[in-house]
């Protein structure tokens, strides 16, 4: 008997047992992280032939490697012989991968190169390669895979909105290229992974959970998310397919507010955008800034931070982030982005450390709820805020006040679709 997801995910509430149930977790790792599209990393992390990084996709450890100048491969970090992990560091450069158990050697494309004492095998060599992601597509250097190849094209998953969100970020770089090679920082949190897509895109909590930050320092979040009339113009948006945004654009009071800096400090940057796209587009981009959005199921476009949500177990996860670096800007500009990232995100930051505590408190609150309580009106989590005032535009996107739970509902709506799909 599997879980009846339709009973546990409703339009206005979800059952809290889904945030700690080991059976639900196992289903998610298969249906969301193996059968669907997931974000792996960025091509700028592996610039040279043989560069690789390891990454965790749900419970599967993978190696993302630059196989040739053009080609990126995502391989299972698991010897095809007896299952030994091939890489145990976070990054490296090799011309091949060699297992330390029986010295099987694999090319960067995952094919077997050499097996000691090969006369012991009748099996054709081409059947002994590493498991590889069956589908891999990239957009602006963002690498996505579908491990088992059963999902449709990436375009069906990302939709126009997913591409537009990535483009909106990358277009802010004067060359159109961003670099994500400053390394990733892992924030270990004792909560279910699904609490973070919600937290990263929840506009309601900002003035409460982050009150200590806004009392302490001037931040643009005061104008877009904390209080006052301006906030009323920010929007919570559900684009469908679980892709969601807190759209701050209408609330910004000045250009470059998202960079926490005035224009005279980065005049050459502004000129570079103008030269590339013309005055009108450039001026608008300087107002709009990067998106604050979550692409289902594991990629947070956190303005000038990129984060990956990594499930570890039903009550354990990692929020792994790096700083966006632009190409074609000064060293000072990119250093500023590093310092801005350190202030905002991570274990010692001023902002997401308080989100981590909140997620851990939720986990503590819900850990005793039982699936069987669903029909006893017990153990539900309410996500109805703003249902009565949502608007739907011509593309089908739903939006509402930035404090409304439109984003949270968008995540869970996609979750329900996937968990109840007929395989």
């Amino acid at each position: 008997m599997g879980i009846n997801y339709g009973q546990l995910v409703r339009g206005d509430r979800i059952h809290a047992s889904l945030l700690h149930d080991p059976e639900a977790f196992a289903d998610e790792m298969e249906r969301i992280f193996v059968n669907g599209w997931v974000f792996v990393g960025h091509e700028s992390e592996i610039k040279e032939h043989g560069d690789w990084v390891t990454r965790q996709l749900g419970t599967e450890s993978v190696i993302m490697v630059r196989e040739s100048d053009e080609s990126v491969k995502v391989l299972a970090n698991r010897c095809s012989h007896r299952g030994t992990a091939l890489c145990w560091e976070q990054r490296g450069n090799n011309s091949f991968f060699q297992c330390t158990y029986h010295n099987w050697r694999f090319g960067l494309d995952g094919s077997v190169r050499a097996i000691p004492f090969p006369d012991g095998y009748d099996t054709p060599k081409e059947d002994l390669g590493l498991d590889a992601a069956k589908r891999l597509e990239t957009h602006r250097g963002f690498v996505f895979v579908n491990l088992d190849g059963s999902a449709g094209p990436l375009a069906d998953h990302l939709g126009a909105a997913g591409y537009e969100l990535i483009d909106r970020l990358c277009d802010l770089s004067p060359t159109g290229e961003i670099d994500l090679s400053k390394g990733w920082i892992a924030h270990r949190v004792q909560s279910n992974w699904k609490l973070w897509p919600e937290s990263d895109s929840d506009g309601y909590h900002v003035g409460f959970v982050h009150a200590s930050m806004s009392e302490t320092t001037d931040t643009y979040y005061d104008e877009v998310a904390v209080g006052g009339d301006a906030v009323r113009r920010s929007r919570a948006v559900d684009y469908g397919n679980g892709h969601i945004e807190l759209d701050w654009r209408p609330s910004y009071q000045r250009q470059l507010a998202w960079l926490g800096i005035t224009r005279d400090k980065v005049e050459s940057y502004c000129e570079a955008l103008t030269e590339r796209d013309g005055t009108e587009s450039a001026e608008q981009m300087l107002w709009d800034g990067p998106p604050h959005a979550f692409l289902f199921p594991n990629l947070f476009l956190g303005e000038l931070v990129i984060a990956i949500v990594e499930p570890v177990g039903p009550g354990e996860m990692i929020h792994r982030h790096t700083s966006v670096q632009f190409e074609g800007v000064s060293e000072d500009f990119n250093r500023r982005l590093l310092r801005q990232t350190e202030a905002a995100v991570g274990p010692a930051s001023f902002i997401t450390s308080d989100d981590a505590i909140t997620a851990e408190r939720i986990q503590a609150g819900i850990s005793g709820t039982q699936r069987s309580w669903a029909d006893q009106d017990r153990g539900w989590i309410d996500l109805s805020r703003g249902l009565h005032r949502e608007q739907i535009d011509e593309t089908g996107a739903r939006s509402s006040d930035a404090s409304d739970e439109t984003t949270n509902r968008g995540f869970w709506h996609r979750y329900l679709e996937i968990m109840t799909e007929q395989v």
Partner: protein
């Protein structure tokens, strides 16, 4: 050769700094800092140029003041309540002495209770590198760089003064 007197003075300073941090005596801790204080906890070894790396924590003097102000709001959820904690400091070495600067390395282990959420005991082993400077006759700290043994593994919340 470090004089016993200097060594004793350095030890007194480090023990006091540790106790003030453990007890969240934030103003007293901040009073130990020079105006150019630099606070750094990298996600790896204490190597390379801090300004070029993405770290757990990389505070100049102004940002560490913000950090302390945030802790003092009474609304900093990740330190509400403050973590009960104690640290041991050992293997103290004066590694360099200039005209006005003393460089010191010491190992530490911090025992922290995550009283804000799970209540678990968290253990933070590492090495701290301090630069101390004499200001108006007494020692002040001009930098504290902390290399965690677990630096590359990721961390749980690190919102106390490490």
């Amino acid at each position: 050769m470090t004089s016993l007197q200097l060594k004793a003075e350095v030890e007194d300073f480090l023990y006091r700094e540790a106790r003030l941090a453990d007890e969240f005596q934030l103003d007293e801790w901040e009073a130990l800092l020079t105006d150019d204080f630099h606070y750094w906890v990298p996600a790896g070894r204490l190597e390379g140029d801090p300004s070029e790396q993405l770290a757990y924590l990389n505070d100049n003097r102004a940002r560490v003041a913000t950090r302390i102000r945030q802790l003092k709001t009474g609304k900093r959820l990740s330190q509400l309540p403050f973590s009960p904690m104690r640290r041991m400091i050992s293997n103290i070495e004066v590694v360099d002495q200039g005209d006005d600067t003393i460089s010191v390395k010491a190992n530490f282990v911090i025992y922290e209770i995550a009283a804000q959420s799970t209540g678990e005991l968290r253990i933070w082993p590492g090495q701290a590198q301090y630069r101390l400077r004499r200001v108006d006759g007494s020692l002040r700290m001009s930098s504290k760089w902390v290399e965690l043994v677990t630096a590359e593994l990721g961390q749980r919340n690190l919102t106390f003064l490490i």
